[in-house]
Symmetry: C2
Amino acid sequence: MTKRAFKDKVYDELSKITKAMGNPHRLEIIDLLGQGPFSVEQIANHTGMSVANASQHLQVLKNAKLVSITRDGNFILYSLAGENVFNAWAALRALGIVYNAEVEKVVSDFRKGYGPIESIDAEALVALLEKDRVILLDVRSAEEYKRGHIHRALSAPIDELSSILKTLPKNKTVIAYCRGLFCVFADEAVALLKKKGYKAQRLYEGFPDWAAKGYPVTTK
Amino acid sequence: MTKRAFKDKVYDELSKITKAMGNPHRLEIIDLLGQGPFSVEQIANHTGMSVANASQHLQVLKNAKLVSITRDGNFILYSLAGENVFNAWAALRALGIVYNAEVEKVVSDFRKGYGPIESIDAEALVALLEKDRVILLDVRSAEEYKRGHIHRALSAPIDELSSILKTLPKNKTVIAYCRGLFCVFADEAVALLKKKGYKAQRLYEGFPDWAAKGYPVTTK
DNA sequence: TAACTATTCAACAAAATTATTGAATAGATT
DNA sequence: AATCTATTCAATAATTTTGTTGAATAGTTA
């Protein structure tokens, strides 16, 4: 085997991974699977794709060893093949946000629709939680909360927020978090909370990022 | 703008980056540019592509903001757009090596051609250099050495190694390094050194990885 | 200003990727 | 064992990506 043939083979193998990531639907699937395992139909619903199409994209991800499967009754559940996969996705996402102004612009333009939303990062939240100075709300669905959530967070699905809200004391700041950087449930929640007279902020990133950084997570 | 349209736009923008990385030639270019700036023709020669083809791939990388250009006389020099780019590439490469046995296999099969080569990592090399226990050889070309090399390394281009070798004392271990994980100059060097009776090892990764990790680098 | 030259572009054909449709399959229920 | 059902597959057409060829371009040098 010549050096050239060797290099061709190596870069070709590695490009199978980047190729598998080189499609918007598949990036969204990877982002979603950061939450935990999902069935094909759930993935299709979350991403607005047909089941057959989602299945085919999942095959591509599986062949690239980026996702793995387990079976639960009639359902096949897809998960990320390891935490490295989410980390690599997070690194690429960061790359996009730093070097490609377009990504930043799309996100900030869309978020402006909810008014000016303050956000804090994971480190700051840890400090506030330790001092017991804040109420932390998980505004994803009840099911997602059950899969895993930030330690000490209360479940407050965005649809039910307005009724839950009445039970919250107004003397503490409320922090809301959701699925990730590209999920706007937390923005919606903060906008509603502020309208009702609360001091509110969103966690900059979402649950999968929090978990990937090794901060405390629980299912109870 | 609906949530769906927002997500479509975000993932579409981000996929431009992963798409740009989703091609073996372009990965090889990114890997090469980890060494420093190169002209289109140099890139074409190093990768075995035609100049026009290399140019087109470079346009793709440039549009994705992964590389940037500077001009030097008649030549246009391409560089990585920032160190994040090399780090993202390194993360993907690591992902490939961990999850895709095929990559590991191709590399180790090819290297077996040079016999059993021991390698050490960057951290271990730092310790050995501090104790002045080793001779460190940069076996890339003289020109690459001049662009930048590991502090205290001697230039020993692989072609000239056998003559340089005569000047080296035999009481110290020799460590050789080259362009990266997929470069076999260091393996060749170690094989030759061992044949001549030296104790020799290769640095596991290459110069760009060393530099990306923030270890000391010099051009003098 | 004229000549030169590294790089890019345009046009083409071949190959690969994509979404949709509807049928096939594997595996769990009953 | 028969039925049911989530998932996968096969076939298709539309779109995108790729490498080659040769010409065009922009910017430097003389």
